[in-house]
């Protein structure tokens, strides 16, 4: 396939190869040449052999073909005449024009220096004594830009040392007691829920078999204000793990489920996982047979689990402030004078389990939220504080190692890093669903591009959980942002198994999330999700790109060495 002049310019030092049959006397242009980006594949398959004395694209443009030549013929000095050494520079220079001063007074012309400025950033200092009134622009006193806090969120942490089941739900002296009858009552949350069991798993008892892990949910509740501001109470040292199966014994996540021994199936310590010392409250839900593959089945399980957590939230609300051992204050900023950027989180939106609840009433809750599939998967903006206050309840796609569970969003490393960074102004976190079919994907991607344009951002990081057809809209999202002149970095699991199937010229800065030595979705919960080091790589890459520093092209195949080298550079 022939190339454009712009592509030829990018590849002016790459070998020149004919894309099609050309006859003697042809004046060679970009449309006669093959795209150099496919040469490695052609060479690997033996279809192309580029000689050492072959000419470059920059040399052959404008040259004359001396005899008929077939497609895939590398151009050499024997084949062409009138070779230029600096053809691209000459072509480029044709575009540069100068305009003479057209002033009517020829004597005045000699006293004026006239130059055009396309873009000017910074300041110009003029010598003292200059008549400022004669300047063609107004002078203003420098005004120092001030950062402004838009909203504040305080999270009070309450440690939990012991969890037990008893007659009443209570929380006192670091001991959480859960009412025994809660499981039975949670069946009322949805008629599709047929059975709910709850058990407490201490860190030393984790070698225990479990149905597939549907979600990992922090226990947090609003005490003052709404999601994203005010005061939230959070329990530390304890986490809810939702597991699910249907009445026939089929795992809710049958495609790539992670049932098995908990100590083997969880990568502890990831942002979305239980931490190594966490007590796990396991809520195992049995849903009506054959509903595990429909939206209503898994959602019913989440509702039942949430009804149990709500009673715990209610006692956590009453915990006295002085019993809190740690207090974190998060601020949403408006940072004047800093480049505006957005974080785009692509979330699953194909249907059952590929769905999320946005902005529930309680942190990491279900009730009061709206599901992105119901919203048509269009982009929805959350403030960084809304995300950190549990604004996303993940109904969670089915790839254990690459899915982002509710706890992941609660402690999302990229949100935390970008919100606190002094050099950028994180304007918002955009959640965009990934619909099933391509025309819907294009629709929501285009809306994302329009949103980025309207927000007037200079940079964006686009992440996606999972892999599969969501990589098509991942590419589309990056393209829609990039084509508007906004610098963009992509973050995803790809490696061996999740290799991208589409791409575009804006996908030149990508961060790999894989942690599996063989590059597989290894079915260990949260293993290949975004970790703090990944977030740092992504942000540095964005800053580098925004600064105009060229980013080296990616290797043709996944290589852990590239990741190691980049991490070494940061340390």
């Amino acid at each position: 396939m022939s190339i454009t002049f712009e592509t030829a310019k990018q590849h002016q030092n790459d070998p020149a190869v004919l894309c099609c049959l050309r006859t003697k006397g042809t004046i060679i242009s970009a449309s006669d040449l093959e795209d150099p980006s496919i040469f490695p594949d052609l060479e690997e398959s033996g279809l192309l052999n580029i000689p050492e004395h072959g000419l470059t694209i920059g040399q052959v443009l404008g040259a004359t073909l001396e005899r008929d030549a077939d497609s895939m013929t590398p151009l050499t000095p024997e084949l062409v005449s009138h070779i230029s050494e600096n053809q691209m520079d000459e072509l480029e220079s044709e575009k540069i024009t100068t305009s003479p001063n057209t002033g009517e007074d020829p004597t005045h012309e000699t006293q004026v220096i006239r130059f055009n400025i396309d873009k000017l950033v910074g300041q110009i200092e003029l010598p003292p004594g200059l008549n400022v009134n004669a300047l063609p622009f107004a002078t203003t006193a420098s005004k120092k830009a001030e950062d402004k806090v838009i909203r504040t969120l305080t999270q009070r942490a309450y440690p939990v040392d012991q969890v037990c089941v008893g007659a009443e739900t209570s929380f006192q002296d670091k001991v959480l007691t859960i009412r025994e009858a809660l499981c039975e009552e949670s069946l009322k949350a949805d008629p599709l829920v047929k059975n709910v069991e709850l058990d407490i798993i201490r860190p030393e008892d984790r070698h225990i078999y479990s149905n597939t892990i549907m979600d990992v949910i922090p226990i947090a509740t609003k005490v003052e204000g709404i999601l994203g501001e005010g005061v939230t109470h959070v329990m530390n040292g304890v986490i809810v793990v939702l597991t699910g199966v249907d009445e026939k014994g089929i795992q809710v996540h049958e495609f790539g489920s992670c049932e098995g021994y908990l100590d083997e199936k969880i990568r502890f310590g990831r942002p979305g996982s239980p931490d190594s010392e966490d007590i796990m409250i396991r809520v195992n839900v049995t849903v009506q047979e054959n509903t595990g593959m429909e939206r209503r089945g898994p959602f019913a399980a989440h509702k039942a689990c949430d009804s149990i957590i709500q009673e715990i939230r209610d006692v956590l609300k009453d915990a006295p402030a002085d019993a809190s051992t740690d207090q974190k204050v998060f601020r949403d900023w408006k940072k004047s004078g800093k480049p505006r950027v957005i974080l785009v989180k692509e979330i699953m939106g194909q249907g059952a389990m590929h769905d999320n609840v946005l902005l529930p009433s309680e942190p990491a809750g279900v009730i009061g939220g709206r599901r992105n599939v119901d919203l048509g998967n269009v982009p929805v903006v959350l403030s960084p504080n809304e995300v950190r206050d549990g604004g996303i309840h993940a109904l969670t796609c089915i790839g254990p190692a690459t899915k982002e569970v509710t706890r992941h969003y609660f402690r999302e490393p990229l949100v935390n890093l970008m919100a606190e960074d002094e050099e950028i102004n994180l304007a918002g976190v955009v959640f965009i669903g990934s619909p099933q079919v391509n025309d819907e994907k294009s629709y929501v991607s285009a809306r994302l591009g329009a949103l980025a344009e309207a927000l007037d951002v200079e940079g964006a990081i686009v992440t996606t959980e999972g892999f599969g057809n969501n990589h098509i809209d991942f590419a589309g999202n990056i393209e829609q942002i990039g084509r508007r002149g906004i610098k963009v970095v992509g973050v995803s699991f790809c490696a061996y198994q999740g290799q991208l199937v589409v791409g575009n010229k804006y996908m030149d800065a990508m961060v790999e999330l894989n942690k599996d030595p063989e590059g597989f979705e290894n079915e260990i919960l949260a293993d290949s999700t975004i970790c703090p080091t990944d977030a740092e790589r992504a942000l540095i890459m964005l800053k580098t790109k925004m600064a105009g520093v060229p980013i080296e092209p990616a290797n043709r195949k996944w290589s852990q060495e590239v990741i190691d080298a980049n991490e070494q550079l940061m340390s």
Binding site: E254, F255, G256, I398, G399, P400, A401, T402, N438, G466, G468, N469, I472, Y496, Q497, Q499, L500, V501, V502, G503, F520, E521, N522, E523
Partner: protein, 62 residues
């Protein structure tokens, strides 16, 4: 839309064997496939739990 679909060698495990077909789960959330017995190459009798491998890419609707 142009795709670059490259088959990948994927491991999997046999879930079910009948007199008609075999059901296989593929590593890494790639799904479950069910194929007739004639589509399976094996030196020994098929059994649940056996490890398999298959070159596979995405299913493209054309």
């Amino acid at each position: 839309m142009d795709y670059e679909l490259t088959p990948k060698l994927l491991p999997g495990t046999i879930l079910e064997v009948t007199e008609r077909d075999v059901k296989v789960t593929l590593k890494g959330r790639m799904g479950i496939i069910q194929v007739p017995l004639r589509s399976v190459i094996s030196d020994h009798a098929l059994q649940v739990g056996q490890t398999i491998q298959v070159y596979l890419s995405y299913i493209q609707v054309v």
